[in-house]
Amino acid sequence: MSNTPPTSDDLSREDDAGIADLLREVGTREEPSQQLTDEVRLAVHAEWQASVRQERRRRQTWMMGMAAGIASIGLATVVMVKFNQSNVAPLVAAATIERIDGSLSIVDGSGRARVASVGEVIAKNDVVQTDASTRVAFKFNGGVSVRLDSNSSLRLRSAENVELVAGGLYVDAPLKPAIASELIVDTHAGAVRHLGTQYQVRTNTNGIDVGVREGRVEVSNVRGVNTAAVGERLRVSLAGDVSHEPLRADDASWRWAVRVAPAFEIENHTLKEFLEWAARESGRRVQFANDAARTAAESVVLKGSIAGLDLDTALTAVLSTTQLRRSPSGDEFIVIEMATSR
């Protein structure tokens, strides 16, 4: 009969079994309902965002107060002060960080790196770098939304010009901007200029891919200027060869940009405005089953927040508070009907 002592593997298996048996005997812990969880998440998220913004404003006010104090004693030297990893707002704000998923680092023109936060401005010569688990959304002049995918790098040349060094970039420019909103994206295979549009550009070793979801873009390269229209993907090689292929507005290649979309503030917006935002973000169009549904959507004014919810969950959550619902439809439309129909 063997008296061999148990090995560490034996003890580990025994320990594993003991834990498993105990947990099964005790049973699972009670989980709060999904509805309750969502309600609390919305409220706490709104409070957290307000707190982050308030702290940002407090630091900027403190910095301006410091600058005024220094100027008042007649110092001739400009002093740059780092405070809690925030930078002094540059004299010309090129873009503002609207949303960060993950951890974002920025290297300025002098080669100094900093960890960036929501609400910060980025300045000329800043290089924005995202890692495998980070995406970021910016707001440029004129309301142009620019989103940078994970594993990507962007250099800011001015408020109207960026260089996509590597990775993927999504641009959403308003169709009717309040002020001029041109943004040119330089890449290693050409420069992309939007003409009131939603598009994305992605670099690869052979060149770039430019997909257009709305409007048109122009791509300038060594061979000249090429245009891509809505529903097209343009492939541009380093040598300047160009090919076109179809690209649906709801293609999977757009999904990353939806995930880092800045939250739509539903408070005091109509349901119709929210639906149009949701449709725009997901490459679909809103269709109302009848005039009654359209009128209802125009008259409902929303309260609360959808921050923290993905787009489809937000749609479901918001519609559930109204007398309207989504009707089953294809991928191209979000069809809205009265909940009492059928």
Partner: protein
């Protein structure tokens, strides 16, 4: 810097993913902390937990990191519960939870850092089960969830990794750490192994 302090710092920087990690990790546990203390009223538990988390995110800079984040949150929640019950003019002293007994409270509050205290109590079967679930809630990060997913729900390591957004190796490592933390916490609370705690449940519950 501890994992809790890093998470708080990321939240102070406005990191959405950090907020999701914070909420998903702590809301269910705080809810389970509050529910029995408000007589099982779900709406009241929701209100006090929401008030506690709201207060916490407004005062994130006050978290020093000398205690576990859950201990800090549960203290805020405890204060909200007292205020809520006082407002309702309820007498709460007829709700005494086993884990609120002073000597056990200190043990649970220090579960992240081992203590020398050894409670000596005889627990019923129901109390033992409650204590085991409280141990799970007091473990760091989402260790309690990971152990339930693995041993009760029967999830694979890949499924656990997918849920947490990490790869296979990272998920295996988390599972191993969760097991170790759970085993050590059972030793602290019960002075026994999982097998022995189970044996006490199966022999009619009295445990010392």
């Amino acid at each position: 810097m501890t994992a809790d302090q890093l998470l708080i710092r990321q939240m102070l920087q406005g990191d959405e993913r950090a907020f999701r990690t914070f909420f998903d990790s702590y809301f269910p546990r705080l809810y389970r902390f509050a529910l029995p203390r408000v007589g099982g009223e779900h709406d009241l538990a929701k209100d006090v937990v929401q008030a506690a988390l709201t207060k916490a995110v407004r005062n994130l800079k006050d978290f020093r990191g000398d205690a576990a984040l859950f201990s800090w949150l549960s203290q805020i929640c405890r204060n909200q519960i007292v205020d809520a019950l006082r407002e309702r003019k309820r007498r709460s002293d007829n709700v005494v939870l086993i884990e609120d007994m002073p000597e056990l409270r200190a043990v649970f509050d220090s579960i992240a850092a081992p203590t020398d205290q050894e409670p000596h109590h005889r627990y019923t079967e129901a109390e033992t089960k409650r204590l085991v679930q409280t141990v799970l809630d007091r473990l760091p990060a989402r260790y309690g969830d990971i152990l339930e997913w693995k041993y009760i729900e029967g999830w694979s390591v890949e499924e656990i990794g997918s849920k947490l957004g990490v790869g296979h190796t990272a998920a295996q490592s988390l599972l191993a750490r969760a097991r170790t933390a759970f085993r050590e916490s059972l030793e602290v609370v019960f002075g026994q192994t999982a097998k022995d705690v189970l044996a006490s449940l199966n022999t009619g519950g009295r445990h010392e």
